[in-house]
């Protein structure tokens, strides 16, 4: 604090009172600076969240009477096979996209880190990230189309003689198709982030390891990976959360109303809320998704204490 001299031990002296006054004024300034975001957060996030919790215990279609139903909505969802499918599909999608997507991104970033033409490749791998999810889904719909209409299946069939599944219509394969599209469209973002992480590693460190006789694999395992583990952790948390919230690609690529294999919790929330107008049910499903997100994130934070290296 520039102008204010530090308060002396005895209160009541002039400088102490001045400091007090400045602190009070600071409180007002803080309130003023924080007001737009805090009020916005209260109005558009905290209040709706509370409202969602209340709705989850009610039956309401938005027009008729509201009635309290206790835990019925949760019980109904948790015992509904459709919701069970949705949970399983959500988990499957995360298990498919996160490990594969991040490993691929790490490999590409490691390769790019040692190669010329980094700028060019970064741009190429990043193009899908700036493309809207709707356009991405439309593009892939045509590639993955069934039989001879889709370029993927017709090529597989004619060049390799295999009869591939109907990626978008087969309930057993559609999550794989969605995972491929998701990985393709988010790869570049993770590559760019990992590349930036790799560049924060002081070259002297890897150099020292090499001089000490460490081979490339050893350098990777003992220096590079520990050094970027905070970045990997951060990206994993973000990737899991966004995989749990995936909606756009699924909605446009396959309509889960026609293919149960693509129904995720988020789609269930949308379906119940905006197609069936069961606001209470929809909120209950959404809160179960929130609980799942919190649990998984908490587990990740607990695990990171052992896996992530934070000393630079």
């Amino acid at each position: 604090m520039g102008v204010v001299t530090p308060a002396r031990p005895t209160t009541g002296t002039r400088p102490a009172r001045a400091a007090e006054r400045v602190r009070n004024r600071d409180g007002w300034w803080a309130a003023l600076f924080l007001a737009p975001q805090v009020l916005g957060l209260l109005a558009f996030l905290v209040f709706p969240l509370g409202f969602a919790i209340v709705l989850a215990f009610m039956r309401w279609d938005g027009l008729g009477e509201k009635s309290w139903v206790g835990f019925d909505n949760f019980a109904a969802q948790l015992t509904d096979p459709e919701f069970g499918t949705a949970v399983w599909n959500t988990v499957k999608l995360a298990l498919l996209t996160v490990p594969v997507g991040l490993t691929l991104a790490l490999l590409v970033a490691l390769a790019l880190n040692n190669v010329r033409g980094k700028t060019f490749y970064r741009v190429v791998y990043f193009l899908p990230v700036v493309t809207s999810s709707v356009a991405v889904a439309v593009m892939w719909q045509v590639i993955l189309a069934s039989g001879d209409y889709g370029v993927l299946n017709s090529t597989l069939h004619r060049w390799f003689g295999v009869t591939p599944p109907d990626w978008l219509d087969d309930p057993g394969w559609v999550i794989v198709a969605i995972a491929v599209v998701t990985i393709w469209s988010s790869l570049g973002l993770n590559v760019v982030i990992f590349l930036a992480g790799l560049q924060t590693i002081p070259p002297s460190l890897t150099e020292a390891a090499r001089i000490d006789g460490a081979g490339p694999v050893r350098v990777l395992r003992s220096v590079t990976l520990p050094m970027i583990s905070p970045t990997i952790f951060f990206s994993t948390v973000v990737a899991v959360i966004s995989s749990f919230q995936a909606f756009d690609q699924i909605y446009v690529l396959v309509n889960p109303d026609h293919n149960e294999g693509a129904r995720t919790i988020v789609y269930q929330v949308y379906d119940l809320g905006f197609q069936k107008f069961e606001f209470g049910m929809s909120s209950a499903a959404a809160l179960i998704l929130l609980a799942l997100t919190l649990i998984v994130t908490f587990v990740q934070f607990a695990a990171q204490k052992r896996l992530v290296h934070y000393d630079s």
Binding site: G2, V3, D26, W29, A30, F33, L34, P36, Q37, V38, G40, L41, A43, F44, L45, V46, P48, F51, A52, L55, A111, L112, V115, G117, V124, Y125, L127, V130, V134, V138, M139, W140, Q141, V142, I143, V151, R158, L189, N190, V192, I193, A196, I211, D212, G213, S222, P226, F234, V238, Q245, F247, D248, V252, V266, V269, Y270, G273, L287, L289, T297
Partner: protein, 291 residues
């Protein structure tokens, strides 16, 4: 810090032969991956020039025959694309302006003003990030319906400025501004607002630029909220319009649908290619949590 045991008689540098081979292999792998990344775009462009009849040909034609450029004016004429462009653009600009301004204010308070409960409040800010959009969307819909904002752009513009991530990112940038600048200004009699506006903001311009790009892209490409909140065709944003188009023509006329998709994608591609360095750096920065 991992300790690397020093092995006596450490290996000499690998001979240039295998090293060069490795490098060529690396380039080949990266190029193959790059082709996979580009293929969907190439296929979109090729398909967008095909006529409806060509979709039925088996085996499938790789190249359009004949090249049917007419798909583009047809797609453009079938739906109010120009209007959608304007809608997406002005909504994104307003989102950027409102988000940057208000989150910079909050970030300044968290970074530079001491007040009781600062740490707790900041923690709560970050915690709200974990709440999925879909949890709050039903109540938000009901609220905005009450306000008469459903089927209006206000539903996308007003709630859109609340952005804890932006506050977090800008706080990191503001903390890096030398405190001496602020103290010097205070000695000259500048108040909090002047310091914020004249000293802090100009010094975090790179952070604002990076965040602005991220917010613009997110707004431009967002689909869930427009889908929920907008009904009138003249209010549609670009992604919403493309999805409606795909819903109507998708299965029947791939050429037309992909022309529409290409129309929606190409301007963003051009903007990205022009500003790629900045965009990529800002994405990297945000991914590292502003470190």
């Amino acid at each position: 810090m991992a300790v690397i045991p020093a092995s006596p008689g450490s290996r000499r540098l690998a001979s240039p032969g295998p090293r060069r081979l490795g490098r060529i292999g690396l380039h080949a792998a990266l190029a193959a991956g790059g082709l996979l990344m580009l293929f969907p775009f190439v296929w979109m462009l090729l398909t967008s020039f095909k006529g409806a009849h060509q979709m039925l040909n088996t085996p499938l034609d790789w190249l359009p025959n004949p090249w049917r450029a007419q798909n583009y004016p047809d797609a453009f004429g079938a739906l109010p694309f120009a209007q959608a462009y304007w809608n997406s653009f002005y909504i994104a600009v307003l989102n950027v302006v409102l988000t940057l301004f208000t989150s910079a204010m909050a970030a300044y308070a968290f970074a530079r003003i001491r007040f009781r409960g600062s740490g707790l409040l900041f923690g709560l800010f970050l915690a709200t990030q974990m709440v999925p959009q879909q949890v709050t969307v039903v109540p938000l819909y009901l609220m905005l319906a009450e306000l008469g904002w459903v089927d209006s752009h206000l539903a996308l513009i007003v709630p859109g400025f609340v952005n804890p991530f932006a506050v977090f990112l800008l706080r990191q940038f503001i903390r890096a501004v030398p405190i001496e600048l602020e103290e010097a200004a205070r000695l000259d009699g500048a108040g909090r607002w002047t310091i914020f506006w004249r000293i802090v903001l100009p010094n975090v311009r790179p952070g604002l630029g990076a965040l602005g790009i991220i917010v613009f892209l997110a707004s431009w490409n967002s689909f869930f909220f427009p889908l929920i909140f907008l009904n009138s065709p003249e209010l549609a944003t670009v992604p919403l319009l493309v999805s409606q188009f795909a819903g109507q023509h998708g299965a029947t006329d791939y050429g037309l649908t992909l022309a529409a998709s290409a129309i929606s994608v190409i301007p963003m591609m051009i903007a990205f290619l022009i500003g790629q360095r900045r965009i990529l750096n800002s994405m990297a920065m945000s991914g590292l949590g502003g470190r």
